[in-house]
């Protein structure tokens, strides 16, 4: 469904993505893990059109989308949940969802929009309770749920999730990931999940890529990556290596 071929991207002189190639098949949950500053979020932003691609190509459903503007990609069915719960704090939950659903509104009108919002309330019942509350007063987990709901409201085919677990309690992380897994089961949603919390991400994903300083160094099934000692050491909190250990 999504394919990156030798994607390169730079911030000024800094070469951030170095010939990155990866793919996500329809209905798959794929995770991109790696340390801070490895280039994971940049890769995600390159896909969603927020970061320029200097060399290489990106394809979505066999159509090239390299450097396509973000608003066009939303209409093609790609949605991104950015890092750090970027919601509108001074607005209520309901207002946030209405803003998020602008594409749905333009396609299906007012009724369509409110049906979609109702769907989101079913997915995250807590948001229904909080619908008239200002988004800034929500807890971290609730804010993340709102951010995800704002992306899902336009019924995307492909969801890009950037660090959804950041700063959240493990129980909330588990809940959010179980919603993602459910959406894949029920609606065939395809997900690319960028995470520093490798453990949680690999539990929910089918496959994973490991990124190091702008390069992909591992591609394997999630279960194999979890067993891979190098990955465990670097990202799952194990110690350093010696060749004669």
């Amino acid at each position: 469904m999504l394919k990156l071929v030798n994607v390169n991207s730079r911030y000024g002189l800094i070469h951030v993505l170095k010939n990155v190639s990866m793919h996500v098949s329809a209905g798959e949950i794929v995770t991109l893990i790696g340390a801070n500053g490895a280039g994971k979020s940049t890769a995600l932003r390159a896909i969603s059109g927020l970061q320029p691609v200097h060399e290489g190509k990106i394809f979505f459903s066999d159509k090239e989308i390299t450097n396509a503007p973000a608003e066009k990609l939303v209409r093609q069915g790609i949605a991104q949940v950015p890092e750090g719960r970027q919601i509108f704090w001074p607005m209520t939950v309901m207002d946030n969802l209405e803003v998020g659903g602008v594409v749905t509104y333009s396609l299906h009108g007012k009724k369509g929009l409110y049906d979609a919002i109702e769907g989101m309330f079913q997915l995250f019942p807590i948001l229904k309770e909080r619908q008239n509350q200002y988004a800034g007063t929500l807890s971290g987990g609730e804010q993340q749920m709102l951010a995800i709901a704002m992306a899902l409201i336009n019924r995307p085919r492909f969801l890009l999730l950037d660090e959804p677990s950041m700063g959240l309690a493990p129980l909330i992380v588990k809940e959010i990931f179980s919603v993602i897994a459910r959406l894949r089961e029920e609606e065939g949603l395809t997900v690319l999940l960028v995470e520093q919390n490798a453990n949680a991400a690999l539990k929910v994903a089918d496959r994973g890529y490991v990124m190091e300083t702008g390069k992909i160094v591992f591609e394997d099934t999630a279960s194999n990556l979890m067993r891979n000692q190098e990955v465990r050491r670097a990202y799952l909190g194990k110690d350093k290596r010696e060749i004669w250990e």
Partner: protein, 430 residues
Amino acid sequence: MECWDFKQECMNRESIEQLQLERLQATLHRVYKNVSHYRQTFREIDFMPEDLSSLDDFRRLPHTSRQVLMENYPYGMFAVPLREVVRLHTPALNIDEPVVIGFTANDLDNWAELTARNLSAVGVGKDDVVQISLTFGSVTGPFGVQLGAERIGASVIPMSSGRHSSQVQILRDFRTTTLVSAPTFALRLYRTMMEQEIDPKTLQLRIGIFGAEPWSESIRDDIEEKLHITATDMYGLTEVFGPGVAWECSEKQGLHIPEDHFLAEIIDPDTGEPVPDGQEGELVLTTLTKEAFPLIRYRTGDLTRMLPGDCPCGRSHLRIDRILRRCDNVFVMGGSRIIPEQIGKILNRISGAAPNFQLLVEREEDRDRLDVLVEISNDLFFDQMKKQRRFVEDLHSALSEFLGWEVGVRLVEAGAFDPAQPVVDKRNIR
């Protein structure tokens, strides 16, 4: 069609190429970081792994030869620390410079998947009883087959080779359905059956998977007719897993190479350049998933060619022709590769001189035999018969011990063979 992993085995060409590119890039980054030999050779040609964006870039990389593996003995080629290695194999290739191949837990898991694909492709299922009559030892062959058969859920009988009559008894009493062995071994079992007046038709045996030595279509016909089974070929080399590297499906139209795990090239053995599609050349393999012992452009020494078109079985992975010859003096016998120089070293050690010698390989009806012909010279001439005999005996036991099976030794007069031809293979494999 039986397909163990439909998604991987029947992937379309575009997806295979994408996956290969991804895995190749990841593998190159890993070997650059973890294997000093590769880091050095990449630097010599001013290549950084992140520069790789196509197969053309890849072709700039130097080949890896067996020599490189020997120079980096024991653990120099490992890309992971030893404590992550769960299995070590040392194929008996060389005496003083052996080669060590390591596997991580994930490597073993992938290997099981690969041999499971092989077994499934010839119709082995979970109800089958698989008798593995390959020599269990330092080579990987039987272990890989065992992993795959167990992955499928078949019942495995690890028998090793030899003990023909008990093998036949087990074949009959355990209702073995699948025999994995060397092809000549299957013919030897047939002879034992005849001696014991057992009709192969009364056995449950229906599939034979053969490897460990080159074998011709006429041997295939012979085995199929005598044992009433379908006989298929498997290929592998210990440096790159072992079995599971290439195998025939039940269509018997060439050997499939699982392209999601290996990148195969065919090169001209003299120039090292890729040959045009369909032309015969040396098989060169790059591992795409191996963690412990990744190999970049490893020269197998085996001659084959890519087969054009699609296999009727529906698998999309490329096929190579059956491997019957090598491009060097090395030959395959009894599951191990025999390097004439290594035999020469033993000869020199025992004799204290450097006599001319020739290795004569012959195939008797159902087994291969190796004779070492040593040219007699003044250094090797003893005035006492006893000493002369003693010398031959020493040589015989040293060679047999090294190879693990009986070798014939004959002293011949000068001019009895052409010293420029160290190996004469009379097995008539083609």
